[in-house]
């Protein structure tokens, strides 16, 4: 797989990783594939690469939100390679689909798919979080492919609703997608937006919930429970699709069937595992924000590759 970010030196001190600043090797071209052109095998490769890139970004000085980036990797891969109608060379294309990363802390996964699609250069990923970079810990609007700056949870669904209304008003074909965390659903602003979008029947709006069951302080159900989550969305006027958020084929199918119910927005409840793909992190709340030492990075990468080989 990709060695786009130089692997960190294995001789570095174990607890403080040097930021990865080396120049990238030449890139595999897969990431530039237009939407819809990636087959299932390709998708698996792409998703694997997203995970590896997330881990590499986790080696930078401040680390990154590894757990929530890995849980969202498959969803983002399918969205960016199969679902979203985008023109990387013309990010403000009037007829594009709009995507809002409401759980902005998963920026690393977003940057990975943006690089794969050619919105940004893969070499830029090495600058994650570094002084002068465009790749902040949460997405900045001035990065091509980012519609709104996010990071404060609970804003994305309102923004995407406004976009969906605007697209409808101006007769454009684009759709608005927002990816939310499950802990994020504890914000009242999400339900305020959900209620409105449901009422206004925004069938060009899709919310995806990364249902990884964890937030910072533990299990969502122990902190402030969300179940029965499907019932909540349904009672707020939404069509609900539940899917295994790591089954690329199932994700393709779900998104291909959208809108599944004319006159209603759809929420895709993607059942995921926090830290997915890296045994070290899977299902662990500690995976939320991690700075990977060289040693930890190697363990994680080995785990990622081994898990894939299975």
């Amino acid at each position: 797989m990709s060695t786009l970010l130089e692997p960190p030196a294995t001789t570095a001190a174990p607890t403080v990783a040097a930021p990865t600043t080396a120049a990238p090797t030449t890139a595999a071209p897969a990431g530039a594939a237009p939407a819809g052109a990636a087959g299932p095998a390709d998708l698996a490769d792409l998703a694997h690469e997203v995970r590896e890139l997330v881990l590499r970004m986790g080696t930078t000085a401040h680390g990154t939100h590894v757990g929530g980036s890995l849980s969202a990797a498959d969803v983002l891969t399918v969205l960016y390679h199969e679902v979203l109608r985008l023109r990387p060379e013309q990010p403000d294309w009037a007829d594009r689909d709009w995507f809002v990363l409401s759980k902005g802390h998963a920026s690393a996964a977003l940057y990975a798919v943006l690089a794969q699609r050619g919105f940004i250069d893969r070499t830029e990923l090495a600058t994650y979080g570094a002084p002068g970079s465009r790749l902040a810990g949460h997405p900045l609007r001035r990065l091509p492919g980012v519609e709104f700056p996010t990071g404060s949870l609970g804003h994305g669904l309102s923004l995407a609703s406004g976009v969906a209304l605007g697209l409808r008003r101006t007769g454009r074909p684009g759709r608005a997608f927002a990816l939310l965390g499950d802990g994020e659903l504890q914000e009242g602003s999400v339900w305020e937006a959900a209620m409105n979008a449901g009422h206004h029947g925004l069938d060009n709006l899709v919310a995806v919930v990364d249902r990884n069951g964890l937030q910072i302080s533990g299990s969502t159900e122990e902190c402030v429970s969300l179940e029965p989550l499907g019932d909540r969305w349904r009672s707020f006027g939404w069509a609900v699709a539940e899917v295994d958020g790591h089954d690329l084929g199932a994700l393709r199918e779900v998104f291909a069937a959208l809108p599944d119910s004319a006159g209603r927005p759809t929420v895709v409840l993607a059942r995921t595992v926090k830290g997915r793909g890296v045994p070290l992190f899977e299902g662990k709340k500690k995976s939320h924000s991690v700075q990977l030492t060289p040693r930890l990075f190697q363990r994680a990468l080995t785990g990622l590759n081994a898990r894939r080989a299975r």
């Binding site: 804003h155 669904l157 309102s158 609703s161 454009r172 937006a193």
Partner: protein, 340 residues
Amino acid sequence: MTATMPETAAQLPGAAGAAQAAEPTWQERYGVAAREVYRRTLLELARTDPRIICVDSDMGGLETLFGEELPSQYVNVGIAEANLMGVSAGLAATGLLPYANTLSGFAAARACEQVKIDVAGNNLPVRIVATHAGLSAGHYGPTHHAVEDLAILRTLPNLTVVVPADAVETEYAVRATADLPGPLFLRLGRAATPLVHEEPYEFTVGKARELRAGTDVTIVATGPYPVSMALEAARELAARGVSARVLNMHTIKPLDREAVLAAARETGGIVTVEDHLVAGGLGAAVCEVVTQEAPCRVHRIGVPDRFFDHVADERQLLELAGINPAEIAAAAARLAAAPR
């Protein structure tokens, strides 16, 4: 952003359709609440500008006024001010010009973070039009008073913050900001207030208007009662031989630094008047400017620093807060008499 304004009431756009009918007088046209003038002006602009979307949050009246005539340019998000701002930012991002309607406390405080990040942060052309500002909600009490809104909003980057002094200036402000490329906050009251402007004049966003020349002291005021009280105080002062300049500071952000510095240099002392807490608002903004280049005394008149839970109407609340012509005149006279 200067409004090109008609010379007579008959030339005013609203009068055009009713050309046959009797020409409305200035008083007929503007002797209503500023928010009514805003509404009819917006409707008029919207008739010819399909980008305009009236975004309602259960304000009452817009659903008929706008919703019936221009249903495709109207959307009601219900009682949901955070969403109001997020949706408006989303609409603006697609190229539309949303006018987000709510009360000032709910815009500045309830939806503060959405205004900070989604509207101001993105520099999107959302127009937040907020009524019930200051103490204008009167006997509705402190949960409806918005006396911290200017402190919050003037601090946020990119926002233009305009506070018309009367219904006339409200129309000017709405027209002058129609094509503003960034976000606007328009701060309106609730009930009708005295007319400060009796004839057409030139209104320019960001440029304070000298309502009265003066050399001994300057009164800088913002908002309907503060401005009309400042004028009243200046008249009283004139009778006492004190020459007070009066500036209508209708734009709080960007602040007209030149006008403030000239006041400091030429009159040596400034009284600020606002229907806002004494800290953080117009007074603070003026203090920030004068201390940079031309330090002088500034006496700030505003709502005292406590939960202001008196029951009274707007006029009486202002009186209780110490915002009245006599206080203004007394403060100005003290500053005028002080050694420079």
